[in-house]
Point group: D2
Chain length 306, copies 4
């Protein structure tokens, strides 16, 4: 595929969405993002790297970090993830991304690892496995991206904590069902810390390429089995974009994870990791520009998983 | 009415429920209660006081304290409760007593002041009005009952806090909707403190008699208007016994408030306050023995509000 | 009580609500009602009858008929209503009046006899008991009111049937849980027929006075026991006014049943039946004018059940 | 891929599930299926056809027909499906397959075309487009499979109708929101008729291969664009297996549609259509043997979409 040409077309389509959607403003630190910023990058399994627009500009990774905390929790598990999957499901939620309803009716077992509740459980397990959940995510991102300066933005993390009553409610509720192994405060702290990491499209495609390589890291070592990597891709496709997973699969046709910072990291299995970023979000919390860009790329190239 | 005879019959009916229901065990301190204890008391508007069984034995007041925190929050309000009723509704919940579902769909406004979520909002407002919500409840109970030793059981309060993830979840969730004026920790502390007060049937009928007297306290002063007292009775009838308010109205026919400590305080407007206590609870969280005793008393006397 | 004076004051308060609320328009036949019509009547247990405004003008009884179908189903039951209460609960719904959600989670057992789903079950049982459910209601209303011309409005009944997809959905759903004894079509037909009866405030207070007389009919015979009549009053208070039962109890403080035709029939146990009517409805489906009139009457007289 | 070897291994794995799960018994006609029957077939895009076990034995297609009714409704649409997608969503339901809850909160727009509610809307639109919705499905299946005897089983269709209160409730409920163009009775009749078609694994892989061929029918003509075919695959993957779509994607990794007759038709885009059949169902309503067989085939071959 001619990625430079595809990226150019994707950027043009994304730029045409100017003015649609709203920058996340539930914490002040996110509200400051330039609404018209846009970047996109591709890292192929052969080691090629392409980018357009603001592809090297850092933004808040937010929920895209959930992909990495899940991958690491599974990679560090000694039982193939069996224990982890007892504490969190892998079904689409069919509900807004921080819903309490489902948690109540399903006894504190979040529907999947990519809704906030599920990511709290994953963070808790990663904390048990490593003793430093957010550090583990940060370290992995640094290694894979080769960007030693990549770090948690302390202002964003503090802002998340200060406005985090809903996440605190979720964590306490999960704890009331006995589904946390660590103190609520610890889990929340590490959750905020890995969500507040500042990354660029460049960083994310390099860090996410292990999924396109079916589990193989940048340095050629294997993080997980081929089968495990494919299964993470499956969960990404059915659950990775909040309450719009069906729509994303329909339009883009790739496994992907979005964040309210405006980033979306998608995987073209066996070929490439692709990341697009634009701060304006649609009603489901996905970046308008990024989804448009990815839609354009897969439509033009005919390269979806379907 | 011949209260001694009615109490005797009520006790006999209550004793016959031996073995039905389960003592609350969500905190160790409650699980230790003698399941077969039973007491009942009546305080008439004329100042008569009657009791049978363990009517002077202290038990954990638990949710019965919500009646008093509501009454005091309304009494201290300078606007007739208008601000309070903006933060909490007065409709039956139609859901289990600590449901999060309704809170989510109704934007953090609890259905009524007697579900846990609503009582947290009431405690918060009472804290704003008095600077010491649990102290205000404790002081009122002491004055009305004439029992200066009445106090919070610190073991129970600590136990509630240690097992309080669900209440913490509720409080954070309400706070996320901007419906708490005080810090979550403060509200929870005072909530646990007034729920953990140890009271007897004797204490509670004396303290609750102001509602039978349409707002007049033991010392003859007025806590609230006649109309306000009647309205509290209305909320008690429709919302006072968790998800079994309809059943309680159907069987007993009196406004009443129950607690998982096994106490139920009921009001016969214009005539008397009646309290029954037995630790075994039915599935809705109401005392099997106490509801049976109250049912017997109103059936025999023909004295319900209907 | 000086009913003429009270009625005059109630009417004045009701007339002052001009313009608030909306006439039910889900079927054309109801939308034609004069929005500013208002009537009110009182029938005392001593046989006195008072009225103001359009108290003799017929309107569509709608859900107020549910009170009578319940009373008759219980009166005709040979088991004290035990079988009936297995098929329908007596808890407030905490949901809009034609909710399917609750039915689904509670296995086809409607919450109470006054939501549409519950009234369908009651109609079904009355059909089994009498062979002519709507005829039984009509006949009872005629006898008690002494109005031989009282009848189902065939235009309204046909209009209900033509716009009755939601009720058909409810009936089929209940049937799918095995909670109907008669064919769905039969139940719906009789349900529409008794809801489409045209009655006046005069008719309704005379017909409803048996509840104020604790079960005794106009002719002095007993329809049901004193205890059964009181229990119907209890269900009316907790469930009679859709999703606003708490509010109605708080403001009016009487057992009552409302209908989207604008009528509200309330009971002052031991004293009188009171009916107010005005076609404009609030968001919960209760008549703005009628609730205001009843609120005024109980506030001025101090005569609520609390 | 060596399909004969893969099918043999898949059959062995499926046979090892003997005794797990339960044959659908909500209608008598389905309950008679031999619980231990098993068949599996593959039709490649190159025209090869393979089968094992009872692959030519007819069974009730049930919900697998929803794939075909959707494809035909889209193919016959003159607006690229725009009108259709206004009446039905494409998000996973996150709820049991015949849920009314979601319908109520989302104003009669079913979540996706593969839950019962959504399939009723699709059947309605196909009826509007063709005048004979079930005939259109039947004819398409006959043509693609080359099986002129393929037909609706009238006993099953009559049985569905006789036990169809839940579907009738859904249809009336959707109609109450104005989301049906044809009479409820007509829609139900055609829905039952296409669900009651008797097909074999052989028939279904031949009929479903158009999706593997990106829209091209057996005779080489195009039913729909490449993009449309890929999008149907996307909806199948996220919504095709009731409330277990995430699990199916995780384990099998293919777009697929299941039915309570025990059949599952899956698509390996660009390569083959695969159908497995076994009457015993898991709790989510998917065939235990068929899912096991498909899981085995994709695990052994490494051929999922991820």
């Amino acid at each position: 595929m001619d990625y430079p040409v595809l990226l150019e077309a994707a950027e043009a389509a994304a730029r045409a969405t100017t003015g649609r959607g709203h920058v996340a403003d539930y914490i002040p630190a996110l509200a400051e993002a330039d609404p018209e910023a846009f970047g996109m990058a591709v890292a192929t399994v052969d080691g090629e790297l392409y980018g357009v627009g603001d592809w090297e500009q850092p933004f808040s990774v937010q929920s895209v970090s959930k992909l990495f905390s899940l991958a690491l929790a599974l990679a560090y598990s000694s039982d193939g993830g069996e224990e982890l999957w007892r504490g969190v499901g892998r079904e689409p939620s069919g509900n807004p991304f921080n819903s309490l309803v489902q948690l109540e009716t399903e006894h504190g077992i979040p529907r999947n690892p990519f809704i906030n509740a599920g990511a709290l459980v994953v963070t808790d397990r990663l904390q048990s496995l490593t003793g430093d959940a957010s550090g583990a995510v940060r370290e992995f991102l640094r290694r894979e991206s080769g960007n030693p300066l990549l770090d948690t933005d302390p202002v964003v993390a503090a802002s998340e904590a200060a406005h985090g009553h809903r996440n605190a409610a979720l964590a306490h509720f999960i704890a009331s069902h006995g589904n946390l192994q660590n103190p609520v405060e610890t889990v929340l702290e590490h959750y905020y810390a890995h969500c507040a990491i500042a990354t660029s499209c460049r960083d994310l495609v390099l860090a996410g390429a292990f999924l396109a390589r079916y589990g193989v890291r940048t340095d050629g070592t294997r993080l997980m089995t081929r089968s495990e990597a494919k299964r993470i891709n499956a969960v990404l496709l059915t659950c990775g974009t909040y309450d719009a997973a069906g729509e994303f699969a329909f339009r883009v046709g790739l496994p992907g994870k979005s964040g309210v910072g405006g980033g979306v990291l998608a995987i073209l299995p066996g070929r490439a990791a692709i990341c697009a970023w634009g701060p304006r979000l649609d009603q489901a919390g996905n970046s308008v520009a990024a989804v448009t860009a990815l839609d354009t790329l897969t439509t033009l190239s005919g390269c979806s998983v379907f």
